[in-house]
């Protein structure tokens, strides 16, 4: 029994060591890791916030444009010798006769009073004033409605004009487009800054690991292998930094949405909500920010690989 145990232990000693996790050829501490992770986290955060802002603006602009586009307004000015109520009824009838119009209704005197309150104050008796009346015309399919036909028909109603909000929509679309373009430009600059930072970090790492690179060359490692070793290290750093920055950006939007609800007065919140959709990114916005993380990580890895390959082609004797 004892002999068998001895044989076993002798065999154990003679056996080659069990496979272990191979030490990384490029030591982790030799890469300026913490600084680079922080820098990538900041860049990802900025990218995420910019992207989220662009998503918010675009979503709001589309919603706005769509809402405004589903309505046109007929304005009837008071005219000498004309009966306002009769003109309103005629205008409504003409509007409802146009194919694609789902409904047309006049805004009551009380509602008109509410609309004017911010400018004229409350408690005003509009019956004493001759003010234009508004008819809201709701469109089923804005593209299918021939608004020029309605405009022509309304010429028979004295004092009636058609307001299609086209100028507003145009301005809104231009503004939203400018903001989106600015966001894309900012994103491009952030990407460029990230690339430059990674290039400098990689060059520094290569310089401090020159001995390792030389040894790898001497023992027959290809440039692709050496670049892969450095790329792997930078990919990990890129992911770590990207994840921190991406989570930070999502958290930022949640905090802003919460702060808007609790710090801003209810009336203002409603207006902000109307403009920016209550700062809610939605699933697509969050997915967009999440997509920034692998993009930044891949960008870091690819940039470092290209920098290493360039460095090696300059220094390798082959």
């Amino acid at each position: 029994m004892a002999e068998a145990a001895l044989d076993e232990s002798a065999a154990e000693a003679a056996r080659p060591p069990a496979p272990r996790r191979a030490t990384a050829i490029v030591p982790e501490r030799s890469v300026a890791g913490r600084t680079l992770v922080l820098l990538i986290a900041i860049m990802t955060f900025l990218s995420g916030v910019t992207l989220g802002g662009v998503v918010l603006v675009q979503k709001s602009a589309i919603a706005w444009s769509s809402d405004v586009g589903r309505e046109v307004t007929i304005q009837i000015r008071p005219m000498q010798g004309e009966v306002m109520e009769s003109n309103i009824r005629t205008a409504i009838a003409l509007a409802e006769a146009i194919p694609g119009v789902t409904e047309a209704h006049a805004i009551s005197i009380e509602d008109s009073q509410k609309l004017l309150e911010p400018w004229l104050g409350s408690g005003l008796d509009l019956s004493q004033l001759e003010i234009p009346r508004l008819i809201v015309v709701e469109l089923g399919d804005p593209k299918a409605v021939d608004l020029s036909l309605l405009d022509r028909d309304l010429k028979s109603v004295k004092g009636a004009t058609l307001e299609t909000h086209a100028a507003w929509r145009q301005q809104l679309n231009t503004m939203a487009g400018t903001l989106v373009l600015s966001g894309v430009l900012v994103l491009a600059l952030i990407v460029l800054a990230t690339v430059l930072a990674v290039v400098f970090a990689t060059r520094g790492t290569m310089a401090s690991n020159r001995e390792i690179v030389d040894v790898l060359h001497f023992i027959g490692a290809s440039n692709a292998f050496i670049a892969g070793e450095f790329q792997g290290r930078f990919l990990a750093l890129g992911f770590r930094g990207g994840l921190i920055g991406g989570l930070g950006a999502v958290l930022f939007f949640f905090l802003v949405a919460g702060a808007t609800g609790s710090l801003v007065p209810e009336q203002s919140t409603a207006q902000l909500g109307f403009l920016f959709g209550r700062f809610s990114l939605g699933l697509d916005g969050i997915l967009g920010i999440a997509a920034v993380v692998p993009v930044i990580a891949a960008l870091t890895a690819i940039t470092s690989r290209m920098t290493v390959r360039r460095f090696l082609s300059q220094t390798s004797g082959l």
């Binding site: 060591p17 496979p19 050829i25 790898l216 060359h217 023992i219 490692a221």
Partner: protein, 219 residues
């Protein structure tokens, strides 16, 4: 195996360090490369390692003109050449085992494929008990034996050694050269650069002497 014809080497626009080198080295031979400090021994070894291109002349290795080879072929040829340095050049963060296994690891081989070979080689060079030690904990002689093991683990046809005994005592120097001689008996072509005359006199191998940028072969 190695054929130099009128090879010259200069760095940048500087003077020619090696001039009109014309020699031939047969497979399985052992040559000492000697000459005073600064005579160009290391530069010649770098030419042989294909990490430098000659400024002029023709270098043929393994029957092929080196200048006509593309990057991949050069890399493939380099893998048939092992090198040992005076300053060992082991990677301090890798264990002795990992350092020796490195040439196989860069070829993409899994550890399971080379574990027993590396272990056997480390036993052969007397480092069986030091496999898990990091280089800073090894003595000079142990480091050099590890460096030799790393150079031969890929079974190179040519083994170059640049002053491999420069950092060890005379007794260990003799033992190291005997180790090279053993490898030579197994068929490896060896070129060992040294300027230690007692060492040269202890072995009866041909000498390539570099002087004034030119080489002469004796013996």
């Amino acid at each position: 195996m190695i054929e130099f014809t009128n090879v010259g080497l200069r760095y940048g626009h500087g003077p020619e360090i090696l001039r009109d080198l014309t020699f031939r080295i047969e497979p399985g031979s052992f040559h000492f490369l000697t000459g005073p400090s600064g005579s160009g021994k290391t530069s010649l070894l770098r030419l042989l390692l294909l990490s430098l291109k000659p400024s002029r002349g023709m270098v043929r290795m393994f029957g092929r003109d080196v200048s006509s080879l593309d990057q991949d072929s050069l890399l493939d040829m380099r893998r048939h050449i092992g090198i040992v340095f005076q300053e060992f050049r082991l990677l301090d963060h890798l264990t002795t085992f990992e350092n020796v296994a490195l040439p196989l690891r860069v070829l993409g081989q899994p550890e399971s494929a080379y574990r027993s070979n590396v272990t056997e080689l480390l036993e052969w060079v007397g480092l069986g008990e030091r496999m898990d030690a990091l280089p800073p904990l090894l003595s000079g002689g142990e480091k050099q034996r590890a460096a030799i093991a790393r150079a031969v683990i890929g079974r190179p046809d040519i083994l170059l050694a640049d002053e491999p005994t420069g950092n060890v005592d005379p007794e260990l120097s003799l033992r190291l050269v005997r180790l090279f001689a053993e490898l030579n008996k197994l068929g490896t072509t060896i070129i060992l650069a040294t300027h230690e005359l007692p060492l040269l006199d202890s072995f009866d191998f041909p000498r390539m002497t570099l002087s004034d940028g030119r080489v002469t072969i004796h013996g």
